[in-house]
Symmetry: none
Subunit: 224 residues, 2 copies
DNA sequence: ACTCCCTCTGAGCCTTTTCTGAGATCTCCG
DNA sequence: CGGAGATCTCAGAAAAGGCTCAGAGGGAGT
């Protein structure tokens, strides 16, 4: 499922191809990766075989009705969160949809912004603790103070090491003068070479290339 | 939290006492056990100290606004699902509420049936797998407060030990700061090292690897 | 009342991190 | 090439953070 490194994946099951296309485009713009299905049977197949962070299912579907699709997914122990879209907005319809296993129910016509907000609310649970800064091929896990190498190996950093590396990674192309690093990361500690020392620690843990020295000017983020 | 043997617990934060009373009655009829708060401050206190399966929070509250209350709860790592009630039904209000950390947003006036259906949808998530939480190769039996080792051997935990381990196991990938564990598990007891002590007890019973220390940040679930 | 277990506190010890400074090494430029 | 200044490397002291444990207090069951 969603692990922070890749885009969150959405399964969109909607028979109105025009609407489906618009939604797919909207979702793509928001950074989701979307798989489309235009009937219930296809939706069931993708839902059972693919890995998704959240599903959007239209209630009215050819071949296999939306609620029937939902019921079959749940019967197969698919616990992915599902948002049901429907033109049927009566109370009984909403209650029926939710009790069929939907996590949210949105009535057409709806505003794009609300759909996105509700998707965020559904997806938040899986995303939490997944924020990362890119670090060349690797990544810096901001929650755990760890560097995640391409193969998945993790190297933990101490507090100061992390602060220094994050500062560099926040503006990867900038050259950071010692003086500003000393001020921002080390609260102007009295020693002159505190920055050098921590650059040395980072290089010892992560390889010589994590930090590039720009002679006379300062340091710059390198590649792991 | 909800463990199947007792009623699901709801925190209701609503300043309109008449509405609050009606809702509490409705919830009681549906088999929920309800705590009421009539202002945000009281809601915050109950939300931080009590154990709830779901919270219903009115958006307009005296002393502490509903969204502010929600933000503070989330800041203290309270992940309980929250349904926000509001007379404000504009698109921007709905989006704002959801992005503030609500799991659902219901506009007043609403039908009781829909509120109940949405509560069921939120509550369903905690019930699922309510018998055991995975713990690496082992499992935590929520009914019996026991850890079940791969071979079937069982180790009984005391109340606090169980609460601590369950809190860690509920979000296995997250890092739990001492402060939030102290608040959520030990009701802010005065001693500084209460969390350390119980981590020590767990490690003594279950092996050093049950809980991983992340220096300077907190603890994380390990593997048994 | 007695026992047993659970809960909590706090003190002492151990580990990791942070910081300093001194010598070795490198880079730039005349 | 050679010197000045910049940078690197590293050991060890100080501080912060974490671990272990003994014992006091309290509640439940006998």
């Amino acid at each position: 499922m969603h692990d922070g490194a890749t885009k969150p994946r959405v399964l969109l099951v909607e028979d109105d191809r025009e609407l489906a296309g618009m939604l797919a485009e909207l979702l793509a713009d928001e950074g989701y990766e979307t798989d489309e299905a235009h009937d219930g049977q296809r939706g069931l197949h993708l839902g059972l075989t693919g890995q998704y962070d959240v599903m959007i299912i239209d209630r009215r579907l050819p071949v296999l009705d939306g609620l029937e699709l939902l019921a079959r997914l749940r019967a197969q122990a698919v616990t992915t969160r599902v948002l049901v879209l429907s033109a049927l907005g009566e109370l009984a319809d909403r209650v029926g949809g939710l009790d069929a296993g939907a996590d949210d129910y949105l009535v057409k016509p709806f505003e794009a912004e609300e759909l996105l907000a509700r998707l965020r609310a559904l997806g938040r649970r899986d995303m939490e603790g997944a924020e990362c800064l890119p670090l060349g091929a690797a990544a810096l896990d901001l929650q755990r103070h760890e560097v995640v190498l391409p193969r998945g190996e993790r190297i933990t950093l101490s507090g100061r090491e992390f602060e220094l590396l994050r500062t560099l990674a926040q503006r990867p192309k900038a050259i950071h003068p010692r003086a500003s690093l000393r001020t921002n990361v080390f609260a102007d500690s009295t020693g002159e070479s505190i920055v050098d020392t921590y650059v040395y620690y980072l290089r010892r843990k992560l390889g010589r290339d994590v930090v590039r020295t720009v002679h006379g000017l300062g340091y710059q983020l390198g590649a792991v």
